[in-house]
């Protein structure tokens, strides 16, 4: 069964450094999402992406964040200058948009640790 995959599983970085989190959505899916979960807190929506542009973003998704679909398979989340409070699990999700609602399939997550 197709799955969303994410790499790396764990990323450690220094404060102020740029990080790129990678996701490979399910191949025929058209909608892509990023969520984050700070340890012990709820999963929070960051951004959704469709047709090569952001369709929705939350207040968390400020100018430090960007998303890109650089080729036909990858979907990336870039944090330009990481802060300590960016430490969290980051989940990618995708959906095919053919259902009357977009059932989202989640990846296993990337744990980002900012030192």
């Amino acid at each position: 069964e197709p799955e969303v995959t994410q790499t790396p599983s764990h990323q450690v970085t220094q404060m102020g450094q740029e990080v790129i989190l990678r996701c490979v959505p399910i191949s025929n899916h058209l909608y892509f999402y990023w969520y984050r979960q700070i340890l012990g807190q709820k999963v929070e929506f960051l951004v959704s992406f469709y047709n090569n542009e952001i369709s929705e973003k939350s207040e968390i998704f400020d100018d430090q964040f960007s998303v890109e679909r650089p080729d036909g398979s990858n979907f990336t989340l870039k944090i330009r200058s990481t802060k300590l409070e960016d430490s969290a699990m980051y989940f990618c999700a995708s959906s095919d948009g053919t259902l009357y609602y977009n059932e989202q399939f989640f990846g296993p997550g990337t744990r980002l640790t900012v030192l």
């Binding site: 709820k42 959906s95 059932e103 399939f105 997550g109």
Partner: protein, 115 residues
């Protein structure tokens, strides 16, 4: 804004017994979806069950069923005949019908099934 509340951070149940996880939400919308996601340790979130708000009948998927009380804005998950493999974090989530991008999650309930 929609908020989702899970008031039980942790629960445990004996194998083969029944457990109910609570979820309440706050919205002024009338058309939406509610979900329960399961996140096993170190694994990705998977959809357990879905409820459309316009349906009065409670959703059921094998051992999993919900008690959807729209007026009370309550959406509890009942797991019957609990199995060791049910041990996981369980997240309640809300999705507005007309904005299929921004899924709102509760903080999660960590369920442990004891042998």
């Amino acid at each position: 804004a929609q908020t989702v509340t899970q008031s039980q951070p942790e629960m445990s149940v004996q194998e083969a017994e029944t457990v109910t996880l609570s979820c309440t939400y706050d919205t002024s919308e009338n058309n939406y979806y509610l979900f329960w996601y399961k996140q096993p340790p170190s694994r990705q979130m998977i959809l357990v069950i879905r409820q459309e708000a316009y349906k009065q009948q409670n959703a059921t998927e094998n051992r999993f069923s919900v008690n959807f009380q729209k007026a009370a804005k309550s959406f509890s998950l009942k797991i019957s005949d609990s199995q060791l493999g049910d041990t996981a974090m369980y997240f309640c989530a809300f999705l507005y019908l007309y904005n299929n991008n921004d899924m709102r999650f509760g903080a999660g309930t960590r369920l442990t099934v004891k042998p």
